[in-house]
Subunit: 343 residues, 2 copies
């Protein structure tokens, strides 16, 4: 998988889609309402909404915007607020990518595609997503990450009759350095409410998936207190999954901002700050060693500054640090090692 | 490849070798002078020597020592000095590992091993090494890394006549945040002198290997200003390579300490410190994403705190930071992007 080099743009285009995907205003309703077009609109609206809420709560910091495109179609908008009043680094990115994937990856995604006698060449794919990491300054205010993405393949050029594949992925997860039960319950309750509108099996399933995914294997601990995570989701109605992804994305602000408002001005000590910084080190370890989006992006030549905006402004590694048994720091670590049911 | 869990020890044993490798004092000269035994002695002497030089230059900080062993033989000594007068984090570790590797790895290491009609099972291997990363506080004082290791396989159990394989690897490299030509020249000159005692082709070849190895591929920049690096070296006389590794290890103190003495008290600004911290972020990126020793250690269940002692105490990631053209920061970055000949 390789992606072309990006070009900076001075203005946000109305869409990053190729004309054939419904980019032209003159196209009929059928194209303008394609899933690709509707997903792009959703993630761009979410970007605007989250950035507005962050700026309002920050009370001073402003997002800096970078727009970029790629020659063959696709592009993105990166927004970063750095050294604000409340957040030390907050990144909210949308991107639309057209690329080619090896047929092995396609077959892996769709078990019965290998049964055809046609040996396919590289498969064109489309991927659109919003990705965000929000790192506050105050050690009692949690880091939040969310990502919602839609993926679709075209039929291979030499097998035009082959079925298109599509899937949804995403999640929202919560990474405090200290546990306030009230905050964690609120966060998980909002996730569950979003899930329950669609399927009562979603929250328990996606909560566990999240605990499993964000494991720092070499430490046997998760980077945080979880939330929801799902990937390669295609065994439901496509419209339902679009609506579900939209609901999850719309839940970011109500899940997170009330917690930030409660914690952003809490007085703290140097010891609290050092512990937050150690947990930020764990965040770096997870993202650089395990996170699929990050490692995939680094290897395929994605826009480095957009990919690594997820890293905190500052992080810390102390040799063999062990929190005192029963301390507040120990409680957080324990919940990262042994995931809990919060609601 | 998998490694057993380590057990903490209260005392340093005389050797971490298995008895069959010359651990028992009662064994004859043949075993006591095995390459395994001599390499272990060399790296332990180097550890003592480097730690003494660091403590003397630090003028206050003391190394904390952790000794550990593994049930089937092998173990290590980790020494870490944290928050000293001069160094914010200095780790000097030795380890001796007995493990099993898949036969594919053995065949890859020795091209003609596949020609035998015997299909070998897992291969027992022995690996011993010293590994060190020294991160000073002052942004004008450079970070140093060095690592010297010796690797040997036993014959597979089901093919006792198969030849043993062995190789040496290692290197010493220099990572300042600011360039002082005098320092870089001194460092590289000491490396070249060590190489030239053995083979005049070594310095140019291992200097280039170092520039190639420490590349942060996703940024197109190296983590620092290089030095020497070599791996899988076995096409020279074994005694010569042991002497060469020993010479390189003995060159660490004269290559590094004079530079530290010159820079450890240089006055600096907050801007200098922030730039050092950004370069430390690059160090983290290289080690977690590319460094073979680190990624191998994380995946095989090595002792995490020993492996990750290479990470700096603190690091920083600013979104889209670009040093001003022609500035001192720009000069360092330029030399990381376009490696130079320093002598």
């Amino acid at each position: 998988v390789a992606i072309e080099k990006e070009t900076p743009e001075n203005e946000r285009p109305e869409t990053f889609l190729r004309e054939s995907d419904g980019a032209a205003a003159s196209m009929g309703d059928e194209h303008r309402s394609s899933l690709r077009a509707r997903f792009e609109r959703m993630i761009r609206e979410t970007q605007d909404e989250v950035c507005a809420a962050i700026e309002a709560a920050d009370g001073g910091g402003k997002f800096k915007e970078d727009v970029w495109s790629r020659p063959g179609g696709g592009g993105g908008i990166s927004r970063v607020l750095q050294d604000g009043g409340v957040w030390e680094k907050a990144g909210v990115n949308v991107s639309v990518v057209y690329g080619m994937m090896p047929p092995e990856a396609y077959r892996a995604a769709k078990a019965d595609a290998g049964s055809s006698s046609v040996k396919p060449g590289p498969i064109p794919f489309f991927a659109a997503g919003i990705s965000s990491v929000l790192h506050p300054k105050n050690p009692f205010a949690p880091t939040l990450h969310f990502n919602y993405r839609y993926f679709e393949t075209d039929a291979p050029k030499d097998a035009p009759g082959a079925p298109r594949q599509w899937w949804f992925g995403g999640g929202t997860d919560f990474t405090p350095a200290y546990i306030f039960e009230e905050d964690v319950k609120h966060f998980h309750t909002v996730q569950k409410q979003a899930c329950d509108k669609f399927d009562h099996s979603f929250y328990p399933r996606f909560k566990k998936w999240c605990d499993d995914y964000f494991l720092i294997t070499h430490r046997g601990e998760r980077r945080g207190l979880g939330g929801i995570f799902f990937d390669d989701l295609n065994n439901y109605d496509q419209e339902m999954l679009l609506a579900f992804s939209t609901e999850c994305a719309k839940s970011v602000v109500p899940a997170y901002i009330p917690v930030i408002e409660r914690r952003k001005n809490t007085p703290f000590t140097e010891k609290n700050k050092a512990w937050q910084q150690l947990r930020r080190g764990r965040y770096v370890e997870f993202n650089l060693v395990y996170d699929r989006g990050t490692t995939f992006g680094l290897k395929t030549g994605g826009r480095i500054e957009s990919i690594l905006v997820s890293l905190p402004l500052t992080a810390r590694w102390e040799y063999d640090h062990k929190p005192e048994d029963g301390s507040e720091e120990w409680k957080l670590l324990d919940a990262c090692i042994n995931p809990k049911e919060w609601i």
